[in-house]
């Protein structure tokens, strides 16, 4: 069989582009991918009909005519590609109405299953680390607060000892102190 190299090469290039577009997540790109891929395939089918430039079949008295069958096949394929593209567009529209974009989401169940042991354990570790850091921070704050309080108390005692040396022996300044200060 002989065929036109241009048809074969451009068909191949279109198929490659179409497949690349099909790998995208956005449905509008997928539609373009389907159309480009379909056109590439149609060129390949046309190419399978033999060399270009022959007479159409009606005009073929005595001369070699071009094969009409691939043309009929391509016609069917074009109609089918049109219907498919229309359907994908409708799906994209619906998806846009539902979720605001036309990206194809991951499967919910898949995501749930693939979050296996490994990720769960990592998550537990991270949680524990966060908890420990939080606890350290809390303790540090408590210690700091206690130290500040003690410093204040000491300063207070020193002040009062200067004012009234007799009171310095008193063991627990606690509530008594505050009552004294209140007025």
């Amino acid at each position: 069989m002989t065929t036109s190299a241009v048809l074969a090469v451009s068909g191949g290039v279109l198929v490659a582009c179409g497949v690349a577009m099909l790998l995208e997540r956005s449905l509008s790109r997928l539609v373009v991918g389907v159309l480009v891929l379909g056109n590439g395939v149609n060129l390949l089918i046309l190419g399978s009909g033999g060399p270009a430039g022959r007479a159409p079949i009606l005009d073929g008295a005595g001369r070699p005519v071009s094969d009409p069958l691939p043309q009929a096949l391509v016609l069917t394929a074009i109609v089918i590609a049109l219907a498919s593209a229309a359907f994908v567009l409708a799906i994209g529209y619906r998806s846009g109405r539902l979720s605001g974009d036309d990206e194809v989401r991951d499967d919910v169940e898949d995501r749930r299953l693939t979050r296996g042991d490994h990720e769960l354990r990592a998550e537990v570790r991270a949680q524990r680390r966060r908890f420990r850091a939080w606890r350290r921070e809390q303790r540090r704050q408590v210690r700091a607060a206690r130290a500040a309080l003690r410093r204040d108390i000491r300063a207070e005692r020193r002040r009062r000892a200067i004012d009234d040396p007799a009171r310095i022996e008193e063991p627990d300044p606690g509530p008594g102190d505050r009552q004294d200060e209140a007025p």
Partner: protein, 532 residues
């Protein structure tokens, strides 16, 4: 010339047209049309099977154009027997779907959308079985797929749109690949008539023939969901309504298997891809069943067992002996019936238990003993418990594998046994959790079920919740017609055991015919002016 041949395609297609015109009007008449047409298709299929079994392949030339240019419809034993079983299954699923609509008092959508697409799907399925040329097979596939796109996105809920997109893109890609394969075959041989191809492909240089064969196998592998090409199936099937999933699982994958059988017996006999098919079969069986074991949703679990059991059929085709092909044909028939039944029962479970997640179901054996029985019988059948048809089919395949005797065949036999046991494990897990253990809530009433769903949804992080369908209304009542249709399917699957002798004899004759494609070629060539 047998002019019955176009009827299985024409009747449903015409009925679909009538329904689109009628829209949601005259529901009673429309249901009668659906059931009448599908019953008529079943009748025609039985007549074709009888004729094909008695007189050899039946032919019809559409429009009176002679082969190889005209479109040929051929019904040999394989086509006719698959057509018959499919027609029976399709009729039962239609009864089930109608009963469900009537019980739910659904508005017009089922009549104006579901019925026409279902009938077009049937037309496409039947056209694929009867196609006598490669391009008509492609057209049959496309009719079927176009209808299935509508059915899998029925209602347009977020979950169905998402899973439908995966399904549609994979299907479109495989269709394109099919067209490229047809271009390659036509460029190399100058014909798309299968009977003529059988002769011309054999004369091709081995490299070109091998390329065409592998492309066709890839296309049919995607349709059949054989392992590396099966990823789309468990993602897309479970979200659809029960009757849709049932008919998809039962029929659409088997058309892929039908394509593989045709490719390997008629177009490229001789088993050049034997090792490849064996590897694919083993991987499908093992990966599929391992996937099924970890699922918590019954529909997804069944989808994975579907992938796994496709492996058995590919195994039979790879062995390429009379016994193996006979067992494959038997297994295909058994599996069409059983897989559809299981999905229909899952629909009943969903109605009764309020969902299909094993985490939430429980105690159904007490609250719905009939559903339990209807699940148990086909589940054991799928697992291959004697004396049911699953056992017969698997036994045939294993015997054929042992008779083959190659090291690969032995590995496959081992894999098949392990897969069978694991299938049993997966299904018993479903049985234990959904049916036998104590119910999760005391009564499982409608209010309870709804409440549980509500909490569950509220507890989930937002990213997951927005893709879930709203929970199906929990209805305690099971319409008798739905149960009746399921009972009929279970009875059909048991009939394969009761009528096992004649059916296995028919499968043997089918295999014998498949192994001698000369008869098929001669039958078609007889109608060509001047032969091939």
């Amino acid at each position: 010339m047998n002019h019955l041949l176009p009827l299985p395609v024409l009747l449903p297609m015409a009925a679909a047209g009538v329904k689109i015109v009628l829209g949601p009007r005259r529901p009673g008449l429309q249901r009668a049309i659906s059931l009448g047409v599908l019953a008529a298709v079943l009748g025609v299929a039985v007549a074709l099977l009888a004729a094909a079994d008695r007189d050899g392949p039946q032919l019809d030339q559409l429009g009176g154009w002679a082969p190889p240019i005209g479109i040929t419809l051929v019904a040999d034993r394989l086509s006719a027997v698959m057509l018959t079983v499919s027609a029976a299954v399709i009729l039962c699923v239609m009864v089930y779907a109608i009963a469900q609509d009537v019980a739910d008092q659904a508005p017009g959508t089922p009549l104006s959308v579901f019925h026409p697409s279902y009938l077009l799907l049937v037309a496409g399925v039947n056209d694929s079985y009867l196609a006598g040329d490669l391009f008509n097979l492609f057209v049959g596939f496309e009719i079927m797929l176009m209808a299935s796109y509508v059915m899998i996105t029925l209602g347009g809920t977020p979950a169905r749109i998402r899973s439908g997109t995966t399904y549609i893109i994979v299907a479109l890609l495989s269709s394109m690949l099919f067209l490229v394969a047809i271009a390659v075959v036509y460029g190399a041989t100058g014909t798309v008539n299968m009977a003529q191809l059988a002769g011309r492909l054999a004369a091709l240089p081995p490299g070109v023939a091998h390329l065409a064969e592998l492309m066709l196998l890839t296309v049919f592998g995607v349709k059949a969901a054989a392992f590396p090409l099966s990823m789309w199936l468990p993602d897309s099937y479970p979200t659809a309504p029960a009757p849709v999933t049932a008919v998809f699982a039962g029929l659409l994958t088997k058309i892929g298997v039908y394509g593989v059988i045709r490719t390997e017996t008629l177009l490229f006999p001789g088993g050049q891809t034997r090792a490849l098919l064996m590897a694919v079969a083993l991987a499908s069986m093992v990966v599929g069943i391992l996937g099924a074991m970890v699922q918590v949703d019954i529909k997804r679990l069944l989808s994975f067992t579907l992938v796994s059991h496709i492996g058995y059929m590919i195994f039979g085709v790879a062995l390429d002996s009379a016994a193996a092909l006979a067992a494959t044909v038997f297994y295909v028939l058994h599996h069409i019936t059983i897989q559809t039944t299981l999905f229909l029962v899952t629909g009943l479970i969903e109605r009764r238990g309020g969902g299909t997640s094993l985490d939430r179901l429980g105690g159904l054996a007490r609250t719905a003993p009939l559903v339990g029985l209807l699940f148990f019988v086909p589940a054991m059948n799928l697992g291959g418990i004697p004396p049911m048809s699953g056992f017969v089919g698997k036994l045939g395949l294993l015997q054929a594998g042992l008779a083959d005797g190659g090291p690969l065949a032995y590995v496959l036999v081992g894999g098949a046994v392990v897969t069978s046991l694991l299938t049993l494990y997966a299904l018993v897990k479903v049985w234990n959790q959904a049916f036998w253990r104590a119910p999760c809530t005391p009564a499982g009433t409608a209010a309870d079920g709804g409440g549980r769903h509500g909490e569950e949804r509220a507890a989930r992080p937002g990213g997951d919740g927005d893709e879930e369908d709203p929970p199906a209304a929990v209805t305690a009542s099971l319409p008798p017609a739905m149960v009746g249709a399921t009972v009929a399917m279970v009875a059909l699957s048991l009939a394969y055991t009761v009528g096992g002798g004649p059916l296995i004899a028919l499968a043997d004759r089918t295999a014998a015919e498949l192994l001698r494609p000369a008869g098929y070629v001669r039958a078609v060539a007889a109608h060509a002016p001047g032969g091939f």
